[in-house]
Amino acid sequence: MSGALHAVTMPKWGLSMQEAKIVEWKVPVGGEALSGDEVVDIETEKIAAAVEARHSGVLRRHIAQEDDVLPVGALLAVIAGADATDSEIDAFVADFQASFVPPDPTASEVGVPTDTVDLSGGVIRYLRRGDSGDVVILVHGFGGDLNNWLFTHEPLAAEHVVYALDLPGHGGSTRDVGDGSLEDFADTLSDFMAALGIANAHLVGHSMGGAIALTFALAHPDLTASLTLIGSAGLGAEIDGTYIDGFVHARRRRDLKPHLEKLFSDPSLITRQLVEDVLRYKRLDGVQDALATVAGQLFPGGRQAAVLRDQLDQLMLPVQVICGVEDRIIPPSHALGLPADVATHTVTGAGHMVQMEASAEVNRLIRDLAG
């Protein structure tokens, strides 16, 4: 590894991110960073999170200073072998800066474009990243969308073809949720795979998306390479019904924010912009009805209608369950007492949105299972 110089750059999280503020360095100059380690905390207008090292080595230089606001793609730090010389690093930095062009903030739909596919149930929006490797499909939870995986798209895309879709009733997809059942959503998933020619995929589901992925895997074990269930529904009856209800019915920032704060271990992660983004989605005609239909079907009376944990042992494929210790939506205890061949990972310092609060760890676990 000596001699190789690696840039740590400002990532692009989500469709609209253009810049972020450097909050705090997690690895000091001279400190060692392994691939997947959190290097620096940054804060976008939507969310605060850590930038991960993509390469292992010594963090040789902080280019960005705390409180700097830098555009997507900007050079933050340099990781290199301990033996790289200062002049080599200077040259690397100079070279990078000379060729760096910040993205044009006025261009519309800056960054990663999404695509749509027209299925029998309606239009589905999705994001595809990565060119080679096994297919990984990311399935978001109730009220979420493909941006719930914004810290996962890029890290997985290095070695996989990553799809993240918006389920019916969510994001940029059709508002038609049918009867809102897990089976309907699972059917959408199989239609989606068929339409895009995906023969087999590692499924990663979060929350309700976990229950959908599980339902899909039970119905189509042949199409499922592995299953990662994060903060997953479908493993027990309990759920915070007030969250579901509040999320469905809140129209105003002040009403919605307390509910969104329950999603994270650290409520300060809920920025005004994140709340605004959820509201923009919820304000669209049909969304509230769609959510109410799904909630009525899956979480009637504040309980989960479908508990599938007893069927886990039918699955003859790799399954792992990840939960945040501080999950206030679905009790982390649902991850306990599962069949022995199901790997269970409890993540400390994370709430329900484990893949956002502990993205590095979750991304590593997915990579580990998906190979």
């Binding site: 519309s108 940029g172 129209r251 105003r252 920032r253 002040r254 005004r272 605004e276 923009r280 304000r283 669209l284 005609d285 049909g286």
Partner: protein, 336 residues
């Protein structure tokens, strides 16, 4: 989703609602244009073309009116109490003078006078604001007058996204709504979903977060405030900008929350200074967040004069980013 103008956003909102609900009709002076004449129909689509194309899609539900504001604004109000959901255009807000009775004595009062038994779901769209060299009778910011009247709701959007969502909300609302469109915002662009969506009234938008100073404003002045805030940021003055979006109901919590955080308040209002939104908010903050204030409140408004015609004068009349910036600097440097 796409980039659309303020004007397109409004047109889209009208079309979507007319599509969705047959009770929605649109009426006003020359909102079609060409009625009864020998040439083309839909010749204007409103003086600035905002409603162009609706007549082709919805025919008789898009009505040109005679230039008789009392009759047709009153008719829209009467129709609203008897089964329609009219969106009626008062071409310039200045023309309220010839139909105000219909608005404030009739529409605004029905529900209360009739003991809660009436609903008047009418939207009065109207164009306001200086900057077009349109002089004293076509340039005013009269939303404070409507805001004063219990029974009316008053909307003053600043962006295409807000315009569409607030207009759809207004059409679906069961109270009379005065929807004020600044004439210099029609070409403003921004991201606007293609679908229908609603933004609730009484929820201000914090368009910029900041720690040092709060700027509360609305309409076109939001953009001037943003400009000022950017300049101030260069001097290390971090402004929070609260865009009211609606003046009735008004999001008092958002104002107070922000002022409690920053301790300094500049209110920017394009209206004349007496009894306007700026004075209203100043009173609110003085009354409810006095202890949080680290400096006096500053109001940046038009002067107490009619809107002048000459560009040399009109440019002085309208609050500018520079005047906002100056007020903010004064507060930032204030030492009691």
């Amino acid at each position: 989703m796409g980039i659309k103008t303020f004007q397109q956003a409004i047109s889209e909102a009208l079309a979507l609602e007319m599509e969705r609900d047959e009770r929605v009709i649109v009426m006003g002076e020359d909102i079609v244009g060409g009625s009864g004449a020998d040439g083309e129909m839909d010749a204007w689509g409103g003086p600035l073309g905002v409603t162009k194309g609706l007549w082709g899609k919805f025919g008789d539900r898009v009505l040109d009116t005679p230039i008789t504001e009392s009759a047709f604004i009153g008719a829209a109000i009467g129709a609203a109490t008897t089964g329609l959901r009219p969106v009626v255009e008062l071409m310039f807000i200045d023309f309220m003078g010839v139909c105000f009775d219909q608005i404030f004595n009739q529409a605004a009062k029905f529900r209360y006078m009739f003991g809660g038994k009436a609903e008047t779901p009418v939207v009065i769209r109207t164009m306001f604001g200086a900057g077009l060299r349109a002089a004293a009778q076509h340039s005013q910011c009269l939303y404070p007058l409507f805001t004063h009247i219990p029974g009316l709701k008053v909307v003053v959007p600043s962006t295409p996204y807000d315009a569409k969502g607030l207009l759809i909300e207004a059409i679906r609302d069961n109270d009379p709504v005065i929807f004020c469109e600044h004439k210099l915002l029609y070409t403003q662009e921004g991201e606007v979903p293609d679908e229908a969506y609603t933004i609730p009234f009484g929820e201000a938008a914090v368009v910029r977060e900041g720690e040092d100073l709060t700027i509360v404003t609305l309409g076109r002045m939001v953009h001037r405030a943003v400009e000022a805030a950017e300049a101030l940021a260069g001097s290390g003055i971090d402004c929070e900008i609260v865009d009211l979006r609606t003046t009735s109901p008004m999001d008092e919590d958002a104002i107070l929350e922000s002022v409690e955080n920053t301790g300094r308040l500049v209110v920017v209002d394009e209206a004349n200074p007496r009894c306007n939104i700026a004075t209203d908010i100043s009173a609110l903050v003085a009354q409810s967040a006095f202890d949080a204030l680290k400096a006096p409140i500053r109001m940046v408004t038009a002067p107490h004069s009619p809107v002048p015609f000459s560009d040399a004068l009109e440019d002085l009349y309208i609050p500018t980013a520079a005047s906002i910036e100056a007020a903010a600097r004064e507060l930032a440097e204030y030492r009691s």
